[in-house]
């Protein structure tokens, strides 16, 4: 059975990437985003998985009121992850994502509209996103409302007739408040509801089976066909008098599958001389397992819903990262106002509390708990014109 298990480049995350690109824009709602273009090379390596590729983002103002943007993103995957090596064989694949959007500004209000399409040989994701932002109280308070609709088609390699739907709706509200001359606070809330085929067609759950050679056998996963989640995040940015910035974020998450998660992140930005900016950050994430998750079920068909996806397990992760930005002193061309080269590195460690490493061939249920580290690299060029 072909195994696309490994990465599970979360289909939702694919759309989220585009949404993040197109919505996490400029500082103030009363001015359009800057005209700029970025060319990024990204590389992820961890847990037997290697993913790399480009991400190109272009933004340009058109007339007085509009700004358009477009993104082209590719994930080239070669995977021999824990799930892949235990149930099948390594594979390679490519995912291409394209998105385009427009931002419209009228007085203190901004509206955005965007569309994203992601394609790979066994998954197609389509997302439409719209948002409305308004500034109040002397441009000190910014309120944003957004709605998103996704239509995904889940496929299966080597089975052209396999096509299941996964539909999604998101609604979010955000408020950002200038608190003092040096402090900016923001609060975001988002509710997401999925409906349809929500699991991975290649994934399997395992159950104790004394008749099997390894002491356990596999059965297909069965997920509920609905999933609703709520997330609330609080963020802060504080300006330090010698010209540096502190950033903080805390998010709480809960959903109808019984998962409770939270994360906090702290960051520090330090400019140096005229041309350098250094960033460091630390992020800690933890979650509890889904109600229907288990690393090893007691017997076959023991529950209505069964999952052994490590994404739904109890685990924690820590991400330490740094970024360096260098601004070129002179411009390569007259129409380029500013250009930078950037390098970012993240080290992420995942520790699972109830997902076992099946490459250890010990008695079923006694295998060591799984954990792995990933190295994430980003190199990108940015130009402002």
């Amino acid at each position: 059975m072909a195994a696309a298990v490994a990465i599970k480049i979360s289909r939702f995350a694919a759309a989220a990437l585009a949404v993040a690109l197109l919505s996490m824009q400029c500082a103030s709602a009363a001015v359009l985003p800057e005209d700029r273009a970025d060319a990024l090379y990204h590389s992820y390596s961890g847990g037997g998985v290697k993913i790399s590729g480009p991400s190109i983002l272009v933004q340009k103002q058109l007339g007085k009121h509009a700004s358009v943007n477009a993104n082209y993103y590719v994930d080239s995957v070669s995977s021999a992850s824990i799930d892949v090596v235990t149930t099948a064989s390594a594979y390679t694949e490519q995912r291409v994502q394209k998105s385009a959007g427009v931002e419209w500004l009228e007085d203190d209000a901004t509206m955005t509209l965007s569309y994203t399409k992601s394609d790979e040989n066994d998954y197609q994701a389509n997302t439409a996103h719209g948002s409305f932002t308004q500034e109040f109280f002397g441009n000190m308070t910014t309120l944003t409302m957004a709605y998103e609709k996704g239509w995904d088609v889940v496929g299966k390699r080597n089975d052209p007739t396999y096509a299941k739907d996964n539909d999604r709706q998101n609604f979010s509200l955000g408020v950002s408040q200038v608190t003092t001359k040096n402090l900016l606070l923001n609060l975001n809330w988002e509710i997401i509801a999925n409906q349809g085929f929500l699991n991975n067609p290649y994934r399997s759950a395992r159950y104790l089976d004394s008749t099997a050679e390894k002491g356990y056998s596999y059965e297909p996963e069965i997920y509920p066909n609905t999933h609703t989640s709520n997330a609330v995040a609080l963020g802060a940015h504080y300006y330090l008098p010698y010209r540096a910035a502190l950033h903080g974020e805390y998010r709480l998450y809960t959903d109808t599958w019984g998962i409770h998660a939270s994360h906090y992140e702290i960051g520090y930005t330090h400019p140096w001389r005229k041309q350098w900016i250094f960033d460091i950050k630390y992020r800690f994430y933890q979650q509890t397992h889904a109600d229907f998750y288990s690393d090893l079920f007691p017997y076959e068909s023991s529950q209505n819903y069964l999952a052994r996806d490590k994404e739904l397990a109890t685990f924690s992760s820590q991400d330490i990262g740094f970024k360096v930005t260098y601004e070129f002193a002179s411009s390569p061309a007259r129409f380029i106002k500013k250009s930078t080269i950037n390098f970012a590195y993240d080290y992420i460690h995942y520790s699972y509390n109830d997902f076992r490493d099946l490459t250890q061939n010990t008695a079923a249920g006694t295998e060591g708990l799984y954990g792995f580290s990933a190295n994430v690299l980003q190199i990108f060029f940015s130009v402002w014109y």
Partner: protein, 163 residues
């Protein structure tokens, strides 16, 4: 003795709330600020001229967009009894000078680093343009800048020059 205070309070309230139009026939607050090359820029020194005071900052994108157009306006009308004063509100003067190096302007620049003059003028946005007539009274205030606003500036200047 409470009556004049109440009246002043009411006037202040309407002034604060109705911005532009409320400045009709109010004397422009006097100021004396450091300018370029060690000179001092004093508003009353320009009494008799139409004065356009533009409050700007290096970190304000629409302000930077406006600067070259303000220079054009200054060149066009400076010999007709008109002057433009660019009051910069940057906390660090170096940032303003860096912008002026890239976008050179010939009209007087005044540095309001402590925001004292900005406070006096009760600015409600960035950038902010105040039109003062030959008698030193504020006749019009324009908040913000979007491309196309310079036509409105032109009309206002011509109106005041003719007086």
């Amino acid at each position: 003795m409470q009556q004049p205070k109440y009246f002043l309070g009411l006037l202040l309230a309407s002034v604060l709330c109705f911005s532009a139009s409320a400045f009709a026939a109010t004397a422009a607050p006097e100021f004396s600020l450091p300018g370029r090359s060690g000179q001092t820029v004093t508003l009353s020194a320009y009494r008799g001229d139409v004065v356009m005071i533009n409050f700007w900052a290096s970190w304000c994108k629409p302000c930077r967009q406006e600067l070259p157009l303000l220079e054009q306006m200054y060149q066009r009308y400076k010999n007709l009894g008109f002057t433009l004063i660019g009051v910069n509100v940057d906390e660090d003067q170096k940032n303003a000078d860096l912008i002026l190096k890239n976008i050179p302007v010939s009209f007087p620049i005044a540095y309001d680093q402590q925001d004292k003059v900005s406070n006096k003028y009760g600015l409600e946005g960035m950038p902010n343009t105040v039109f003062v007539d030959r008698n030193g009274n504020i006749r019009h205030v324009h908040t913000g800048y979007t491309p196309g606003d310079e036509q409105g500036y032109d009309e206002q200047i011509r109106l005041l020059i003719r007086e």
